[in-house]
Symmetry: C2
Subunit: 288 residues, 2 copies
């Protein structure tokens, strides 16, 4: 396991962590100021400043991208399928422009939540089949672009409206069916917030192995959690055994960034950007 | 699959569903008024009116108990272990006094949440081992009392503070280790709210089989869910494929009550008791 205690050369900032404090260009400058070597930006943040300006700022400051957020939202009825396909291909292209380590896939839940305007359906099994079909189709395009796809299993509390892939096991089953040769083109984003509770966690990190572990995200689970979406905790403020999980991931050979991704309406989004980044760095050293 | 459309002879009311509208005696009278044949009361509700009075009211009205809520909260440090043991034995005795179908076990999460006063620990694996040890010990006592124990896997969003058994698979693994002969003394309470998202749901209902399926609970998952604990929906108002899950449970031979359990601070706890019960009956017929 790598020693994080003396520097933060392995820290990446998911830019949603300070999305309320400034635009992407301001966040990139702040990362440079704090010697944070990598980021993972969101498409809406990129759109606000323009892809070209965002790519230029990233390159100017020599930042790497631990991932690009995000493709996915595959379930859709017939009227929205082409939109989903085109949208995902554009995400691959943008990730490529940044030379991102992977495109993170938040796969979507039921079709009327994943692609609003789709007919209402509560058939979770059908949504899951659409997800697998959608990833299979996108994978061909992404291989052509040389952009690895990282399926992010989301916590089961998001199964209906954000992602119906909810465990590492389920994500790895999809990977094994679509990429049996473990080429590195398809894998998982392991976010401790989503997977820490899983009784099969350590078994499935081992099963993923180096080829499938494309990203590692950290934050913490607060007790109580006051909001399903935007009450994630700073590392060390909750109950997740973060360093134990990181040790397991690194035991498989994962050598990428540790990406901090905190959505926090009630706390961190209200603090000054520099304070948030300083705290991320401090906790990265002390508890990640 | 049983036809529920014409009557509600298979409906049980978990009395937490109307806990804000009256005490247990008032709830029992309301159930009698609405020809609801069974209930599942909570210990705090029983304590308020006294065990003897509660048992008497249940018997006077000829109600059955689909379950008794609840035993569990096993993780504890050394200072609280005796308390946990005694508390659980009293729960078995009370369930016996009501002639309940089973004692539902909400197993507890980390020790300082399960048994406040215990030392803080974030070791989820250790908590899970304590749960299994605790159930194993209680099982001997419960066998003696002829009271089946139903492990209720809780949604993963409760892993830290309420139950670190979070999937049917995990509960069934415990059952298989502690009761390999499938004697009926140990099984699961399958609550659609906690398990609907599980990619292995139908596989594990089958695995449970008749001997392990001791209780079946219904409500619905709302989108959005505004509170982790007390924003459950009335059947039909959310996204859960309730009748599909009931069909799977009954295909294994489950012939018990369909127990309505809704915690709803923002909606159903604010409505008159008779309105809530009428709605439960109507939805039991139309969507369960």
């Amino acid at each position: 396991m790598r020693d994080f205690s003396t520097d933060h050369f392995q820290l990446s900032l998911n830019t949603a962590t300070v999305r309320k404090q400034g635009d992407l260009l301001a966040i990139i400058e702040a990362c440079a100021r704090h010697q944070i070597p990598a980021i993972s930006p969101w498409r809406d943040q990129v759109a606000t400043v323009g892809l070209e300006a965002a790519v230029k700022a990233v390159k100017t400051h020599g930042l790497k991208l631990s991932g690009y957020c995000r493709g996915g939202m595959f379930p859709a009825d017939a009227s929205k399928r082409q939109e989903a396909r085109d949208d995902n291909r554009r995400a691959v292209d943008a990730a490529r422009a940044f030379d991102a380590a992977c495109l993170v896939l938040v796969v979507g839940g039921l079709p009327h939540y994943a692609r609003p305007g789709s007919a209402v359906s509560h058939d979770l099994g059908a949504a899951r089949r659409q997800v697998e079909d959608g990833i299979g189709e996108l994978l061909e395009y992404a291989r052509g672009a040389g952009m690895p796809l990282a399926i992010e299993p989301l916590h089961p509390m998001y199964a209906a409206d954000r992602a119906c892939v909810n465990t590492l096991e389920q994500a790895l089953d999809i990977c094994d069916r679509l990429d049996p040769a473990r080429t590195g083109a398809l894998g998982v984003a392991a976010d401790v917030y989503h997977i820490w509770w899983d009784p099969n966690l350590y078994r499935d990190i081992k099963r993923a192995g180096r080829e499938r572990l494309l990203a590692f995200h950290v934050c913490d689970w607060l007790v109580p959690t006051r909001d399903l979406l935007n009450d994630r905790g700073m590392m060390g403020d909750g109950v997740i055994e973060i360093s134990k999980i990181r040790a397991a991931v690194e035991a498989e050979g994962f050598a990428g960034f540790s990406e901090v991704e905190i959505f926090s309406e009630l706390d961190w989004w209200k603090r000054p950007m520099d304070e948030v980044l300083r705290t991320c760095i401090e906790r990265h050293k002390s508890v990640v």
